[in-house]
Symmetry: C2
Subunit: 115 residues, 2 copies
DNA sequence: CTGTATCCGTTGGGATACTG
DNA sequence: CAGTATCCCAACGGATACAG
């Protein structure tokens, strides 16, 4: 319905600050855990839905679309009946995983789970 | 005015996921840039206010209080007239800076500022 | 100088019904 | 199966007036 922008790319949210650009990409309630699950391989829509208990279809779709717009994941559509859609990490998505690892290490060091 | 919780610590937002714990701490429109400015040394309230053009006092106060509750910054109050308050990074806050560096490097590599 | 109190508009997640 | 469309609500940032 948008006149000249069918794909609102969050990449347009580029700020001057590179850290903020990265933070914006992973902002969103389910994005980090989505990247985490996709790091182990390609997943279908309903697989992700089951891996994220409590998420609604609409939200899952939005988060996936935003990650796709940010070049973090691939969305491959098989035009079959019934439909089949597979999601996987892009190369950029994979390159982001070390950051998640470092964040996890930092959290566990300074804010241990079971203090 | 709160019955039993004058300090709402975002640390209570500890989720099972360590990455999400870290992400929650830096979530907030001005927190990253606040940490960045404090990385160069102690700053007073009005200094930070000037370094962050467009922020309102209320928001600046909230973001600083949340970072303090997350043990990322220290708040030192000098009981003088006029008042003087200094903010500085804690050790935990300092230990977070390498993550910001890695995020900046990743952003600049994959989403360069002037493509 | 360093806040607090209040209100307001926007954004984002959630729930549900419906569709190709 | 994999969405879309719609409405709702809570959380957050922002602006302003006031206070210690």
């Amino acid at each position: 319905m948008n006149p000249a922008s069918t794909t609102d790319s969050p990449l347009s949210q580029r700020t001057a600050c590179p850290v903020t650009r990265a933070q914006t990409i992973m902002a969103g309630k389910w994005k980090i855990v989505l990247l985490w699950h996709l790091s182990t391989g390609t997943k279908r829509f309903h697989e992700l839905e089951q891996l994220l208990p409590g998420i609604s279809k609409g939200i899952l779709t939005r988060q996936l679309r935003e990650l796709e717009a940010d070049s973090m994941i691939n969305r491959r559509v098989y035009r079959e009946i019934p439909p089949k859609v597979e999601y996987s990490l892009t190369e950029i998505g994979h390159s982001f995983l070390p950051i998640l690892d470092q964040m996890a290490a930092w959290s566990n060091q300074h804010f241990p789970p079971e203090s």
